[in-house]
Amino acid sequence: MNSSKYKYDSGLGSKKSLIIFLSPALLAILIFFFIPVISAFIMSFTDFSIYALADWNYIQFIGLDNYFRLFDDPLFWIALKNTFYFVITAGPLSIIASLTAAILLSSKLTAFKSFFRLSFFLPVVTTLVAVAIVWRFIYHPNFGLLNYFLSYFGISPIDWLGDPVWAMPAIILMAIWKSFGYNMIIFIAGLQNIPEQLYEAAEIEGANSWHKFHHITLPLLAPTTLFVGIITLIGFFQLFAEPYIMTQGGPLNSTLSIVQYMYQEGFRWWNMGYSAAIAFVLFTIIFTGSIIQLKMKKND
């Protein structure tokens, strides 16, 4: 009895202090996260536009109209399709690239490790605008480096950023190059946590390198891969800067991403209501994607 009462009191006391200590953080989250999110959610049911800034009476509640309009909006579907195209291709490719790079860099046979690690990581910390200018020249149809290289294989020049078919692959290639270094560092950290003895034991049992990779590296890297997978998914769904700078969504809207469309509607044309609706659709997609990934890992 006594002990349970004591426990109860301490529980209450610690709860109080808990709230006191957490309140600054909670307040900040409330003001800078929950209130804006809730107001955006409410806004998505209105026709908030530039006129609303002049006079609040010009705002109408229009229920689900914004969401219905989205389903009727060909540009929204194009943007959604492009974003999925990007995530589905660039996501796995980026993870494979960073895992490969991490394994190669962790190998004892690799020389100049820190040099390579630095070179692979450098794109991550370079300003995208500078990178984009360089890549625009690499992709130039007439005197670009990529077409020059391809010409040795007898491939005729491709208008990388100007052809609706090739623009997205070009963006994907650049996005992978720009981002895989970050995941690589996380994978390297993950690889270092795998005890060396496991490999030694496997070698004694006669395992070859594929066996070791398949039965030791991959399973033990699973938590890292899950983390990298979710972070990449969330990041790639928010594709914005690359097409914004390289192609402005073109040609023929073939690189228009959902975030870019949202930005245009919201901050270029001030259709805040419509833009908020797009934001919540994107939120739902990312949320569902992350949940599915988590569930899949749990079932493993």
Binding site: D47, D159, N253, W269
Partner: protein, 424 residues
């Protein structure tokens, strides 16, 4: 004794402080964009000398973020007293009731007079027969052309009519005989030429008090079909990625004609040097009929007063100062912005410059785009989008213009609702 002295000193400081604050000059906040914002401060010492009780605080706003910044400033009640607006933005800020009606100021003014401005440019600042902005500097689009290549193609003068433009283009393509060289550059991410052609053909772009799209009208359709013909017949390049640098491309004969504004004169002069120095020129735009020159766009920037400013008289004084002939000329010398006041154009620099003479002729025939808040969105997102769809032959002219009207009607839904509401 010591104490008393200390108090006396403090009192003295207090008195001086008060006196000082009474003589404090009125602070006038002024926002200007890009290069204008950078250079205008060089003109202001003279203004402050004439008006010792006014202190102008200039803030430079980058062009790319200007509209966003201004609207955010409006939403948070932080707009400056006087600011620069691209003249197509005037309707937007008018619809927000953010800018002051200047009719009375102009009426009373001894220095600003409507007759001293190009009518087409002045008109862009007039909404419901009321003036909201005073033109500061102006621009319009003309035809840049390579006279040497036109000569090679058998023409000793720039095109005066649409038909002639087409003929010249075909000849250039034939003479240069290179699949990587084009006659004219009409990129679909520049809406201006597409709209200019429509305006030249007397198309009404929007109908019913600017509340519905009217791009399917026969006039616009004819103009749009004409201009997109250049792409379809490979007289103009379809893509935009080949041209990383228009100056280089113009020099390399990638294209021989280009429709652009005064801001490019300086760079074309820099790129086309030595033997090419006299190989290019500019001309007013061709016309659909024989009435040369054809109309162009009335562009430029205006100065406006914040309707909530507490120092409107001072703000107006600054606008008057910046509109003086002498100041406008100085401004031109600083950064080549073309003066809005006509009297400045009578100066010897202007009369003797072969390029400026062309601009003067063109300014006499300029037209405004529809003066509604949504115009920017219609032009930059929708017209460019459907121009690209047509140029790349994803859609026919008819399909593209019908889809354009449909999208515009969706954009203008709110405007129609407001018009209805205000009628009741």
């Amino acid at each position: 004794m010591y104490q008393v002295g200390k108090i006396a000193v403090l009192f003295l400081i207090f008195i001086l402080g008060c006196a000082n604050s009474e003589n404090d000059p009125t602070v006038l906040k002024f926002w200007a964009m890009g290069a204008e914002g950078e250079y205008v401060s060089q003109l202001l010492p003279e203004f402050e000398k004439e008006n010792p009780n006014i202190e102008v605080k200039v803030q430079q706003v980058p062009w790319t973020a200007a509209q966003e910044k201004l609207i955010t400033a409006f939403a948070s009640d932080k707009l400056p007293d006087v600011f620069q607006l691209g003249n197509t933005w005037v309707p937007q800020f008018h619809s927000l009731s953010a800018i002051e009606n200047l009719s009375e100021y102009v009426e009373k003014s001894t220095s600003i007079d409507e007759s001293n401005y190009f009518p087409g440019i002045w008109d862009t600042n007039v909404l419901d027969s009321t003036i909201y902005g005073i033109p500061w500097y102006i621009d319009t689009r003309v035809l840049y052309y390579r006279s040497d290549i036109l000569k090679k193609a058998g023409f000793d003068h720039p095109p005066r009519t649409w038909d002639e433009l087409y003929e010249i283009s075909k000849s250039i393509k034939k003479v240069l005989a290179d699949k990587n060289k084009y006659a004219i550059y009409l990129p679909s991410n520049e809406w201006a030429p597409f709209v200019i052609w429509g305006l030249q053909n007397n198309a009404t772009l929007l109908k019913s008090n600017n509340s519905y799209g009217n791009f399917s009208s026969p006039e616009f359709k004819e103009a749009f079909a004409f201009i997109t013909k250049f792409h379809k017949e490979k007289l103009a390049p379809i893509g935009m990625t080949e041209v990383n640098n228009v100056f280089q491309a113009f020099k390399d004969e990638y294209f021989s004609m280009y429709i652009s504004g005064p801001w490019n004169i300086k760079d074309f002069k820099l790129w086309l040097t030595d033997s090419l120095e006299n190989s290019w020129m500019i001309a007013p735009l061709p016309a659909p009929t024989d009435e040369y020159p054809g109309a162009s766009l009335a562009g430029g920037s205006s100065l406006v007063i914040n309707s909530k400013s507490e120092v409107k008289q001072e703000a107006w004084k600054l606008i008057e100062f910046l509109s003086r002939k002498k100041v406008q000329l100085e401004f031109y010398k600083l950064l080549n912005d073309l003066p809005a006041v006509k009297s400045a154009w009578m100066d010897s620099i202007f009369v003797n410059d072969k390029f400026l003479k062309v601009f003067y002729t063109q300014f006499l025939n300029v037209k405004a785009t529809p003066k509604i808040a949504e115009w920017e969105q219609i032009a930059f997102s929708k017209i460019q989008q459907y121009a690209e769809y047509t140029v790349r032959e994803v859609m026919t002219v008819d399909e593209a213009l019908a889809a354009l009207d449909k999208d515009i009607n969706e954009i203008l839904k709110k405007r129609r609702w407001l018009l209805d509401k205000n009628e009741q």
